[in-house]
């Protein structure tokens, strides 16, 4: 005689097999109210963004009087004004430039460093690594003060390179942490085979390790790109000339010029947001699994 408990367990297992996907504790039927609620939250996420785009395509009058999501006449000239007259083209280029260079810097330095920490014999590397990670723990919110003074000392304030260097440094800790874990998981046979073939350390690194770790560093680079593009405070401190400003600071300057014209401001924010949205659409799988795997700071 099978016990009641056994019977229930078998029943439960059969139900779970029926429900198809590996859900931990569903009873097979989904709750429509719950689904509507979750969909409602989705709408709350999307609506402000749609509203931003909608406003950006309206004329000044319409922006303040019409509450429809669809503009009567689509004013694309808001964007043209923003791009040409209000220098958004310049800001956009600058942001792209800083983002690209920061990504490059982080990629070069962190792949080298992570491999070094993971696989090469270096005296004291454990201590150095712990200090590196420790810096992640100590939040010094005003570190921009000494950084500014440092840049000032070497006449690097208001220069592109002065802006980029600390940003590269900021992206290193997480990047090295992730890549080091990856490299530590690579079977030693790879390197041993290469050494037998006569490869130098650097060759092993560039020909084998970098291609192998591509998924890891791609994820890191995507996050670096996003945080550089969205960076504000350091750019605010470094740049006073419009020609060098990245898009976030430019957006603030823009807001100062057009502060009653929300349709212009929304055009500006849309321009600032579009690259991030595009990156997200392309890389969403990678981004989401990156966060869920290790809680990378979004």
């Amino acid at each position: 005689m099978i016990s009641i408990k056994e019977q229930s367990k078998v029943k439960l297992e059969m139900q779970m097999k029926d429900s198809g996907s590996r859900k931990p504790y569903t009873t097979g039927n989904f709750n429509i109210i719950k689904e509507l609620f979750l969909l409602g939250v989705s709408l709350i996420c999307l609506f402000p963004i749609l509203w931003m785009i909608s406003t950006s395509l309206k004329g000044t009058q319409e922006a303040f009087t019409s509450y429809s999501l669809f503009p009567k006449e689509w004013r694309f000239d808001n964007y043209i004004t923003a791009w040409k007259q209000a220098d958004f083209g310049v800001y956009f280029f600058n942001s792209g430039f800083y983002t690209a260079l920061t990504m490059l810097g982080v990629w070069l330095i962190s792949t080298l460093g992570a491999y070094g920490f993971a696989r090469l014999r270096i005296p004291g590397k454990k201590i150095i690594f712990y200090i590196l990670i420790g810096s992640l723990m100590i939040p010094i919110p005003g570190s921009f003060i000494p950084l500014y003074l440092l840049m000032n000392k070497y006449q690097l304030t208001g220069t592109r390179i002065g802006y980029i260097l600390p940003l590269i440094s900021g992206g290193l800790a997480t990047s090295i942490f992730i890549l080091k874990s990856f490299f530590e998981g690579v079977p030693k046979e790879f390197e041993e085979a290469a050494i037998i073939d006569g490869c130098s350390k650097f060759r092993i690194f560039s020909r084998i390790m970098i291609p192998l770790s591509k998924p890891s560093w791609m994820t890191v680079l995507i996050f670096t790109a996003m945080s550089t593009w969205n960076e504000y405070l350091w750019a605010l401190i470094m740049f006073s000339r419009k020609e060098l400003m990245p898009i976030q600071v430019g957006l603030q300057v823009f807001q100062g010029q057009y502060f009653t014209k929300y349709e212009m401001l929304m055009a500006g924010t849309t321009i600032a947001a579009v690259p991030m949205i595009i990156i997200y659409i392309i890389f969403q799988k990678r981004i989401i699994s990156g966060i869920m795997a290790g809680g990378i700071k979004g």
Partner: protein, 300 residues
């Protein structure tokens, strides 16, 4: 014998040197741009300096004494930071946890929710601030319009000019942009819970709520701790969002610590004092994080 020894250690040293080159760039960058600022901030906080004159005036702990004897702008901004952090944890985080639980418990469109909930987070805080500034606008803003439409017209107001509601408005925008991140972290945590435990609980007749409270939450404790620390740190260091929405106003009702530090340094040119504020603030954040870690450890 001695000659052999010498050769071997020469080769090893060259080996070490070559290896060291791999981590040299990291060490340079990190020392200059991460380690040095931490130390210099603490050092600077003991001086009075306007950033321009050739001499810095040593004042010891006087900056700290000034802070503690009453710097209203600082203490209000710190209070605001605590309020923002509190609201974020109590409202946003529990909401994210609830969502994660609902989604994991069998939602048809799980993939969709994961993607959509995180979208607000990819926008820069400044962009988020401007979007919500427009939503809260007293004249053209959609919030007041919607309130009127659903008959709650008496609730309309100039949100961002109101000394009380301005901070709440800032909080709402930041929670809108932040909840997706905690949601994903909680979802990841939930997915790590072993199926057998849940199954046997269900077989024993436990309902959804009991499973949530008695089994899931305790297992999730470490995840909850990490998320809480991140939420608190994020809320307390808020800056661009506030600049966009209210710039600290009206008065100091939305002033935040980073803003105060920035103003003291670059507007009032008190580099030493700003560094002191910064050191103090860093200490507060550190203590908060450690308290949370300790509280989590106690609960186990």
């Amino acid at each position: 014998m001695v000659k052999y020894w010498g050769e071997k250690s020469l080769r090893r040293t060259k080996d070490y040197l070559g290896n060291f080159l791999f981590i040299l760039p990291v060490i340079i960058f990190f020392s200059l741009f991460s380690l040095y600022p931490i130390l210099r901030t603490i050092h600077l906080s003991l001086f009075k300096w306007d950033g321009m004159s050739p001499n810095m005036e040593w004042v010891g702990l006087r900056n700290f004494r000034i802070i503690f004897s009453g710097d209203p702008q600082w203490w209000i901004s710190l209070g605001n930071a605590f309020k923002l952090a509190f609201i974020a944890v109590v409202v946003m985080q529990s909401f994210s946890l609830l969502l994660a639980f609902l989604v994991e418990r069998g939602a048809k469109a799980e993939g969709l929710y994961k993607v959509v909930y995180y979208i607000p987070t990819i926008l820069s805080p400044l962009v988020v601030g401007y979007i919500w500034k427009w939503i809260f606008d007293p004249y053209g803003g959609i919030l007041n319009y919607l309130l009127e439409v659903i008959g709650l017209g008496t609730l309309t107001r100039a949100w961002l000019s109101d000394p009380v509601f301005s901070l709440l408005a800032v909080s709402v925008s930041s929670m809108w942009s932040g909840f997706g991140y905690s949601f994903l972290l909680f979802l990841a945590g939930l997915k790590g819970i072993s199926r057998e435990i849940i199954e046997s609980a269900m077989v024993d007749g436990a309902n959804g709520r009991q499973i949530l409270l008695r089994i899931v939450v305790p297992i999730l404790r470490p995840v909850i701790t990490v998320v809480t620390i991140l939420t608190v740190l994020g809320a307390m260091q808020m800056f661009p969002l506030v600049v966009a929405m209210t710039n600290g106003g009206p008065g100091f009702s939305t002033q935040v610590p980073v803003m105060t530090i920035y103003n003291e340094c670059f507007r009032s040119h008190n580099y030493g004092y700003a560094s002191a504020l910064s050191t103090l603030f860093g200490l507060v954040l550190l203590i908060l994080s450690m308290l949370q870690i300790e509280a989590a450890r106690r609960n186990n």
